[in-house]
């Protein structure tokens, strides 16, 4: 069964500091992973997916098969990055979300 762990419920950093949102997975099958984000008063939306290997809003995520991790990173956090972040590996026909990490970026 697919399972993800986001160990931090809340991560608080100052503007300009590096940020790393942790995600560990227990997953059978091809590990295609996603990060979804929900900004205040906005809809949950896709931030990035592993397979595309792209950087969105300065965020990147590297799949580490050895550590079974898919941590989300950004070198310099901005206040507008404050949001709820969910890691999700695909289950068969559905997403299984982690419990989420709330990122707070203070000025």
């Amino acid at each position: 069964a697919q399972r993800v762990t986001q160990p931090e419920k809340l991560l608080s950093v100052f503007k300009g500091a590096p940020v790393e949102l942790k995600c560990n997975y227990s997953y059978s099958g091809s590990p295609e992973l996603f990060w979804y984000v929900q900004y205040s008063r906005q809809r949950l939306q896709l931030l990035l997916r592993h397979i595309s290997r792209e950087s969105i809003k300065g965020f990147t995520a590297d799949l580490n098969k050895g550590e079974t991790s898919f941590h989300l990173k950004k070198p310099f956090a901005q206040e507008e990055d404050s949001a709820m972040y969910y890691c999700a590996p695909p289950g068969f026909q559905k997403l299984v979300f982690g419990t989420g990490t709330r990122l707070l970026v203070s000025p």
């Binding site: 809809r43 969910y86 289950g91 982690g98």
Partner: protein, 115 residues
């Protein structure tokens, strides 16, 4: 184009009453999902539709919960005899196909409060 819409945006009901939540997916999206977002619980999968059929109902918390989808489009989530623990934000999402590798597009949610 229009995104996923949900109605009502807010629903306050009394314990024991039935409620219906509606979801209009993006046109052409064959897959439709219902999730529940509770404080401290994260996002919980409820049910998935491919077309009008629901091959995965594994997330429905009890037999008080049911959902249907008609015409491969609109879906209704019904909660009978609501309980206070049903209070949550109910999210609907749709995607192009049944593969979970497809991006899911979420609606704004319905906030349900059971008094």
């Amino acid at each position: 184009g229009a995104g996923v819409s949900q109605s009502p945006s807010n629903k306050v009901t009394e314990k024991g009453k039935d409620v219906e939540l509606r979801c209009d997916p993006i046109s052409g999206h064959t897959a439709l999902y219902w999730y529940r977002q509770s404080l401290g619980q994260g996002l919980e999968f409820l049910i998935y539709f491919q077309g009008n059929s629901a091959p995965d109902k594994s997330g429905l918390p009890s037999d008080r919960f049911s959902a249907e989808r008609t015409g491969g489009s609109v879906s209704t989530l019904t909660i009978q005899r609501t309980q206070q623990e049903d209070s949550a934000v109910y999210l609907c999402a749709s995607s192009l196909g049944r593969s979970s590798y497809n991006e899911q597009f979420f609606g704004p949610g319905t906030r349900l409060t059971v008094l």
